[in-house]
């Protein structure tokens, strides 16, 4: 019956897209943009447990050199930040950002009862749960739930990856994951999927089927939206490796004024049990040159004040080196904040305390959820408590 009515409408030339589509499939027509002046967050995940002590090197501290006779970084090699600390030699551009007041470093970030499994600790960081809680949603996913109640877009938060991380999965809304907007756009444009949508008769649909169709429709709409808005590729010069390409994609999207507020991108693996220096230096070099290209690009387009890049890793590493010139899983770690709009810059707190270790590990001083609360409240302008489930006192770096 329905099909007949449709053919009739088509035949009489009265057809419009909105007449033919069930209502829920085109609930999002408003073209909300993140115009210049609005804030964007870029999360850079260092997967595998980056060794924070060879990232921000406490070269004023003897214990550091005693604990790591084979892999400690000499003071004269480090990029100088202060009298007490410097950066890994491969991070020279970050040293420059530090001088320019565009880098903030927060030391000793972690959570109570730290877990040393990569998977579990990443779960905790991405969901923002306590160590003994198991949450099935991520903090940015719940940000979408709160922020995006009335918008049907899933493009408010985008992960540059083939798979969506827990961090971007909410209760009712999910972020969007892709490596190449064009590839996903083409997949979504498949005429078969469009025909599935057109032929789906939602009045008679069971609940769960409708959810699948709704996700399909949303995917199609969102990929088209992203693709159409990201045609204008940035002219910035980026290094030709994965992180370089991914930050280039992010820059293109930021500069094309789409409604995305959060971008999520990962690099790894920092799991340096063996021969740490080679592996960490290689990854840091990539990060250093990719960030240089990205920040230069943003500055050129006057958007560096609006963008905050935040790095984290699921845990730091043991203070003492192991027998294979590497380090094993540890606990607390540092986080980096890069932006032209920082309110506090430089070293945001004291360096790691190497004298009071717990079973060879650093003891955290700042709960990472306070950082999330800061970013949510002061940067993304939303109430943090409903998203984090508890009240965490914000910091003041933005």
């Amino acid at each position: 019956m329905l099909i007949k009515r449709r053919s009739f409408i088509k035949g009489t030339g009265l057809a419009t897209a909105s007449l033919l589509m069930p209502r829920f499939l085109h609930a999002f027509d408003a073209d909300e943009k993140v115009a210049p002046g609005n804030k964007v967050l870029v999360v850079l995940q260092l997967s595998g447990g980056n060794d924070g002590l060879n990232t921000v090197i406490p070269y004023g501290n003897d214990i550091y050199y005693k604990s790591r006779p084979g892999i400690a970084i000499a003071k004269e090699k480090a990029i100088r930040l202060t009298d007490d600390a410097g950066l890994h030699p491969s991070l020279n551009y970050l040293g420059k950002l530090f001088e320019d007041g565009a880098l903030g470093i927060l030391n000793n970030v972690g959570y109570p009862e730290p877990d040393r499994s990569h998977f579990r600790s990443m779960d905790i960081w991405q969901s923002a749960s306590g160590a003994k809680e198991y949450w099935q949603t991520g903090w940015l996913g719940r940000f979408l739930d709160e922020q995006c109640r009335n918008c049907e877009h899933s493009t408010q938060a985008i992960e540059i990856d083939d798979m969506l991380s827990l961090a971007l999965k909410g209760k009712t809304k999910n972020g969007f994951a892709f490596k190449d907007p064009r590839k996903l756009y083409q997949a979504g444009r498949s005429p078969l999927f469009q025909d599935f949508l057109n032929a789906h008769d939602q009045e008679h649909a069971e609940h769960t089927v409708s959810y699948l169709y709704k996700t399909l429709a949303d995917t199609k709409k969102s990929t088209a939206y992203i693709y159409e808005h990201s045609q204008q590729l940035t002219t910035g010069l980026y290094p030709n490796h994965e992180l370089g390409r991914n930050l280039k994609t992010i820059a293109s999207l930021i500069l094309s004024d789409i409604n995305t507020q959060v971008y999520y991108v990962s690099i790894g693996s920092f799991d340096t049990h063996v021969g740490q220096d080679v592996q960490q230096s290689r990854l840091f070099k990539q990060i250093n040159e990719a960030l240089e290209a990205f920040v230069t690009d943003l500055k050129k387009n006057n958007r560096f004040e609006d963008v905050l890049i935040m790095s984290f890793s699921e845990f730091g590493r043991r203070v003492a080196q192991n027998a294979s010139r590497g380090t094993d899983h540890g606990s607390a770690n540092n986080m980096f904040f890069i932006s032209g709009g920082l309110k506090q810059k430089g070293l945001l707190n004291e360096l790691d305390d190497l004298t009071s270790l717990k079973l060879g590990d650093l003891q955290y001083k700042v709960d990472f959820r306070r950082v999330y609360a800061t970013v949510l409240e002061n940067w993304l302008n939303v109430k943090a408590e409903p998203i984090l489930g508890n009240a965490f006192e914000p910091l003041r770096f933005v």
Binding site: M163, S165, A199, E206, Y211, L212, L216
Partner: protein, 471 residues
């Protein structure tokens, strides 16, 4: 006709991993009660071991093994790491194969349920192999036996740090999870219960090759007060106390109902099931028989509304459509892309379920999968790195999902069906939802040059539909 076929398939999907193509003639003809009996009976036999590895230290004493491990050089260590990694991968393949081809569908499905319930990860292939045997052989037995065996398995003892739980320096991890996630559930114990129970579990340990050991010197033999009772409880006593709590029956029944029947609970049914389960001394097999022989199980609202988890999707496709892979890691690649790798649950709470499996990217992969299996264009996506397994190496893109589908075997099941009825026959077999995608629409994508190509192209199209994600 359609109604009863869908109902029998409903049983196959929930009490197993879906109907196999070869079951089809039976499904069409058999009386529901006969089919049910036949579908379930094999599961109540003792399963044979799934054996991926042999103990490389067989015949050696504990001190000899410890010494050998301690003295191992770089090369030995590498070899041992490889032994475990390959063993775990092989166990994954063996179990998937069992899920696809075993006649004991309910047992494997139930074991899959228990794997999610007693979620556990370990890098020790011997421990894992033993853990799998525990959940498979007790899958339909008495829950108290299952609980005892899993709790004493080397895999769980290590995973929940029971081996670090000592008199004077207790580790409460196992005591907490056994209450919160395995038995009574949140809200039915106090922090004091956990503290005291942790004392009772002190001394539990396991060897490298997987034997349970009780270290009396580390056991706190003093008096404890748990659930209002006082005694010099041992770990075994605590597990017995836990199954005495009616809350345990309720907690498990709810979980079973959500997994096998409907995510939305029916209070009356659940409480009656839970009472029966408790009264039977936690007879799991009996609970499942009660569910599958009830009328309400076959109600419309319970059919075709469950989002298949990635494992259910993969095994189900392989059962409905017999196929072979040139690449033996195909199943593993798929699991990693979809984020559900057997023996790698995200945490001790197990996998998320239902809608949590669906986001834009995962839905696109699901809808593209049947084409990839059949048409020879591979995925070009990279699964996320798993640093617990890869130890710092870079994740490779998933490859090798192209299959050789054994179409003749599949089409045989439809040999008696006339061309004009073939489409209905296919969608009735493949989809559990009340409505199928419009035939008129699918028409234009089907190949018409022969009966075989019509049926095979239509099969792939139906498997690409959103409806196929449900069972």
């Amino acid at each position: 006709m359609k109604v009863s076929q869908t109902a029998l398939q409903h049983l196959a999907w929930r009490a197993g991993f879906g109907p196999a193509a070869a079951d089809l003639p039976q499904i069409r003809k058999a009386k529901p009660a006969d089919f049910r009996k036949q579908f379930l009976q094999e599961s109540f036999n003792e399963p044979s071991d799934l054996k991926a590895v042999d103990n490389p230290f067989a015949g050696m004493t504990l001190p000899e093994i410890s010494k050998k491990l301690k003295d191992a050089g770089e090369e030995d260590k590498k070899q041992l790491r490889n032994f475990h990694q390959e063993g775990i991968k092989k166990l994954n393949r063996l179990w998937i194969k069992e899920m696809i081809s075993s006649k004991a569908q309910l047992r494997e499905k139930m074991a899959f349920f228990w794997h999610d319930h007693f979620a556990c990860r370990t890098g020790n292939a011997m421990h894992l192999q033993q853990y799998l045997q525990v959940i498979r052989s007790h899958a339909l037995g008495k829950f108290p036996d299952l609980l005892m065996a899993v709790s004493k398995s080397a895999a769980m003892i290590n995973y929940l740090n029971a081996n670090q739980n000592r008199k004077n320096s207790p580790n409460e991890n196992f005591a907490r999870e056994v209450m919160e996630l395995f038995t009574v559930g949140k809200g039915n114990y106090s922090e004091e219960d956990i503290k005291e129970a942790a004392r009772a579990f002190t001394g539990w340990n396991a060897t490298y090759t997987g034997d349970f050991i009780f270290r009396e010197g580390q056991h706190d033999a003093g008096s404890k007060r748990i659930f209002g009772q006082t005694g010099n409880f041992t770990g075994e006593d605590v597990l017995k106390l836990l199954v005495k709590q009616k809350a345990t029956a309720r907690f498990l029944t709810e979980k079973v109902y959500r997994f096998f029947v409907n995510e939305e609970l029916d209070e009356k049914i659940v409480s009656s099931l839970s009472n029966g389960f408790y009264a039977s001394g936690y007879d799991i097999g009996q609970l499942m028989q009660t569910i599958f022989s009830s009328d309400w199980f076959y109600q419309k609202k319970n059919i075709g509304n469950r989002i298949k988890s990635p494992i259910e999707l993969w095994v189900g496709i392989n059962r409905q459509l017999p196929m072979e892979f040139g690449n033996q890691d195909a199943g593993m690649s798929f699991q990693r892309i979809m984020g559900q790798v057997l023996f790698n649950p995200p945490n001790v709470a197990g996998w998320p379920s239902g809608r949590a499996w669906i986001d834009s990217s995962s839905l696109m992969y699901r809808l593209q999968l049947p084409r990839i299996l059949s048409a020879g264009t591979d995925f070009t996506v990279s699964p996320k790195a798993d640093d617990d397994v890869q130890m710092g190496k870079v994740a490779k893109p998933a490859k090798g999902l192209v299959a050789q589908i054994r179409w003749p075997l599949f089409l045989q099941a439809f040999s008696g069906v006339e061309n004009k009825d073939a489409e209905t026959a296919l969608s009735t077999f493949l989809l559990q939802t009340e409505k199928a995608p419009s035939t008129l629409m699918l028409e234009k994508y089907s190949k018409h040059n022969s009966r075989e190509s019509l049926l095979s192209s239509r099969t792939i199209l139906l498997m690409q539909s959103p409806e196929y994600q449900l069972c």
